[in-house]
Symmetry: none
Subunit: 121 residues, 4 copies
């Protein structure tokens, strides 16, 4: 698990961690049931505090991406149950992105091509 953290970014560290783990799960780097690195391990290799990683894991837990248990650490769970909620969020953010793309002169064809690539990975 290689984390690329941008300490200068306004995006909180814990959010960056959360995002990258979500990416990794979507990319198939982590499968359902796989163990995530321990909080201490991840904090150690990233050179950050365990509390920060802990917050990221709690976010993921709360969002349903992982389950944590004291025996096995954090385990990936691709339940796929929260479809409706994610749909809503995705649509809302897509609207703003599409608006910015439109103004910048990106055609619908180009935009949809970007979307296709993003999904296909």
């Amino acid at each position: 698990m290689i984390m690329k953290l941008d300490f200068a970014s306004s995006v909180p560290i814990y959010q960056q961690i959360r995002d990258q783990i979500v990416q990794a799960v979507a990319d198939g780097d982590y499968l359902d049931g796989d163990r995530l690195p321990t909080i201490r391990a991840l904090a150690g290799e990233a050179g950050i505090n365990t509390m920060t990683v802990n917050k990221a894991y709690q976010l993921l837990k709360q969002e349903g991406y992982i389950i944590t248990d004291r025996r096995n650490g954090a385990i990936v769970q691709c339940s796929g149950g929260r479809k409706k909620a994610v749909e809503k969020k995705v649509n809302k953010e897509l609207e703003l992105l599409a608006a910015e793309a439109k103004i910048a002169g990106i055609s619908q064809e180009e935009f949809l091509e970007f979307c296709r690539k993003a999904y296909s990975g």
Copy 2:
């Protein structure tokens, strides 16, 4: 210009203002050369501080969406010149969105349909 502000949101007010103006421009509510409301007017009707609106306008100016002029206020400028920069940003955010959609069980067809609607919107 009706602003819908969510003071409970973690998204800063100035960001919300910026986003809605970008939306309005993309939707054609503002055309190239149109004048945005004055900072004071917008702050007044939204019940917020002029400093907050000012920050939103500075963001928009910095992003190239508007130009400001001490005499004429803020003027929309759909230059469309920053295509490369916007492309980069859009692609980056699309990746995360697509990842979350994929995990939630949203198919590529569904996702692309959302994208299409967001652009046509």
Copy 3:
């Protein structure tokens, strides 16, 4: 004795075991004098460590729900002697539950109906 354990829960496993045994006793699945499964048996079929079950049994013993005997295992004991202590605990927890229910818009009639069902159930 079928145990439903949620390893993802923040509630400790031993607590979950303890709760379910208390439920079973209250439901009449275990009568005064009945033998509980041995620690080894329960641990085996639940796929957990005997230490964990042991802790649950010690909790139950300490609370007076069972007595343990090296020869006969754990025996249910509905002494009913700790009424005062239980009353205190029940009242304290009811207060918080009632508060949450009230805020959520659950009427007193509804709440009492829930209570009635919980007791009869």
Copy 4:
């Protein structure tokens, strides 16, 4: 706002804070729109860390009891919208409580009387 914290308890401090605020809201000590004490103020008078209070506030925010905004601090919000979710939680906890009460020899009449008192406050 007088907080009674039990540092010896296994219940986390932030949970105790959360519970007492929920109680206060249900009791009408805080009405919809009222401001909660600032994180610093509450931490100071309770002699605990701001992070701990912060966690309690985030819990309350996440549960929908308050909204926080950088301008006004934390504001109580009795939306009452989450009825179904609260119903489920209340029923689950009532079951265990009723079971313990039953075993302790508390009659249904007594139990319901406790429930009534808890709701009436």
